[in-house]
Symmetry: C2
Subunit: 373 residues, 2 copies
């Protein structure tokens, strides 16, 4: 019997699980939202992940269910689990990735360092928080945001009036506007049986709320930073019962504190470097973790690795027409293309480069990405 | 328009092209011999590669045709080329991989060092050759042999009587029995436009005519050996007009000469280490070469890499049941499983390990492979 792993969602994260699945001899099956999605090659079903019957039918033919995204509703997940389906990460963990207010509350219970935050249900609540935090703050919709959507920096509570109206009585999350020197990310893999493996903490550069570049490991990260970041990651993975890959986005503050910004319970953009820069890439690791197989070595395979995203632009022509110039100038770059239509700002691929000199590889990765942007 | 590459043959070499194709955003399509082949995931057609209509129909939907094996008949290949299909490697190159007598003749013209050989059509011819070469020799059927099949060491011409009978007047090839200290392999990638890239020469260990282990680069290989092996590879790739990956199997003789043993015009078992041990693995390189894209960096990404084949055995149980023990003890091993039924002696997977210490990685790779054999 071949091991069968079912992935709900047909985006690029599911697509990037195909290569390690083929290598390991795992039968990867994808429930895609539509025909022609990024993970089309492995799609064995097309349907609505919010529909229990659709998901249930898909789950019948696999040994474990995992995800390309965190949007499958709790009621669908809980129904599967109650019917004996192995779901990783499970609903009890995923709810903390689905709802930022629940996440903040749970991290507070765990004593994990995070920005000041509050649950606010109206303008007055919010203004009180802002008044206590220098007059500014970050308002977030607890559910459904990604890549900067559902996040707004405000200087007055009235700037969130429309969101309160739309929330219709539901609470919003407000967080202090953290003065950070840079952003980091810590990835942890965790199996159902409890084994954990930590990737090195990396530096991430966001532009317009979207991850643009990653440097691995985080430049200048001393022993203290590495230990603190890994410790936070392990505490969250264990405390929230995460199975599979966990990404913890972190602020490194101007006064050198490490605070948790966001969580993702799946392979994450901050870990794409590991496909070509670590002994075990995050997509293979995720498959091993959700199948409860022993985890792979997460060590870097070179001194430095970097990842630069390709964001779709208004340029004419196809990706393929750009291969020639990019590959010719930079034979050491690893080009990853997601098979998605290019739209301005949309993540449509990324470039990985590894080597001994960080400046060199970052130059290379940016140069190659520029051919495709 | 996405680049579409068609592979004739659905074996493990086609399968191992899937991962780099998905990464590069290439649409890989396979013409498989049957349902359920190793490369099933990418199979878009099932049929007989000896049938022109089948191959022609498959070729209509792709930008370039390449191969999992070298068995597509010349007349089929030539018909495609005459109809304007891009075929790489093309029939003019492939015939030297399809017929060992043609190969020996052409290498002699190119002045490439090789064992003494002769075209023999009967017992008397053969005995004369043996008498001139210490009474022993290696008889080979010019066509159709692989993995030790179609190769016989003889001490008297009469030991090949059955082959002469079956050959029905066609010539056989006889070669001197080379006293070699070890076997090596040199891989070269070559584009239609002429660009070539050389992989480091590797040591290969054969057992029962089948590649068992590979050490990359070849231990103790000094500058002279590296230059000689690469020079031979480049001369053959250019002289035979090879496009795609070329593997040249070499003898390193007791008196330190380098002689060409066999050729393969496709990704080759001796290059599987490069999937995890080189900046650009041979399967990605093959896709780039046949699509006439700039070639990737073929440098090793670690000091040493090794590959140990998994040969199917009579053991009970599934591969997956062995994952646990293998992965648990050796988190740094890269496990490659081909999705084929295990039969004794059949190649069903391989293990790659890279690192700073050759003894360590060979120990690891053998230990992991032993879980699956």
């Amino acid at each position: 019997m071949v091991l069968r792993i079912g992935v709900i969602g047909g985006g690029q994260l599911a697509r990037m699980m195909i290569a390690p699945a083929v290598e390991l001899g795992i039968d990867l099956r994808v429930l895609a939202e539509a025909e022609g999605m990024s993970a089309q090659l492995a799609a064995t079903a097309v349907g609505d992940y919010r529909d229990l019957d659709t998901v249930r039918a898909f789950a019948q033919d696999v040994d474990v269910i995992t995800f390309d995204h965190e949007h499958v509703p709790q009621e669908v997940l809980r129904a599967l689990v109650s019917e004996g389906v192995a779901v990783h990460p499970g609903p009890d963990a995923l709810r903390f990735a689905q709802d930022k207010l629940e996440m903040r509350e749970r991290l507070a219970e765990l004593g994990v360092p995070q920005p000041d935050w509050a649950r606010v249900t109206g303008i007055d609540d919010l203004q009180a928080f802002l008044d206590d935090h220098g007059g500014r703050g970050v308002v977030k919709t607890p559910r459904g945001g990604y890549d900067g959507k559902g996040v707004r920096v405000v200087g007055a509570a009235t700037e969130a009036s429309d969101w309160f109206e739309r929330a219709d009585g539901e609470a919003l999350l407000v967080e202090e506007l953290v003065a950070f020197r840079r952003e980091l990310a810590q990835q942890i893999a965790r199996r159902p049986s409890g084994q954990m493996v930590a990737y090195p903490v990396v530096e991430t550069v966001q532009r317009d709320g979207v991850c643009a570049e990653v440097f691995a490991p985080a430049p200048g990260a001393g022993e203290r930073l590495v230990q603190v970041a890994e410790g936070i990651g392990r505490r969250i993975a264990e405390g929230l019962g995460v199975t599979g890959m966990l990404a913890v986005e972190l602020f490194e503050t101007d006064d050198e504190r490490i605070l948790v910004n966001e969580l993702a319970m799946r392979p994450h953009n901050s870990g794409h470097w590991s496909q070509d820069g670590a002994v075990t890439g995050q997509f293979e690791q995720h498959l091993r973790a959700v199948a409860d197989l022993p985890l792979g070595d997460a060590s870097p395979s070179a001194a430095w690795a970097t990842m630069v995203n390709i964001l779709g632009g208004p340029l004419d022509g196809t990706f393929e027409s750009r291969f020639d110039a990019a590959m010719s100038a930079h034979p050491d770059a690893k080009i990853h293309i997601y098979g998605k239509d290019a739209r301005p700002g949309r993540k449509v691929g990324h470039i990985n480069v590894s080597g001994d000199d960080l400046d060199d590889i970052v130059y290379t990765a940016r140069a190659v990405a520029a051919h495709f942007d």
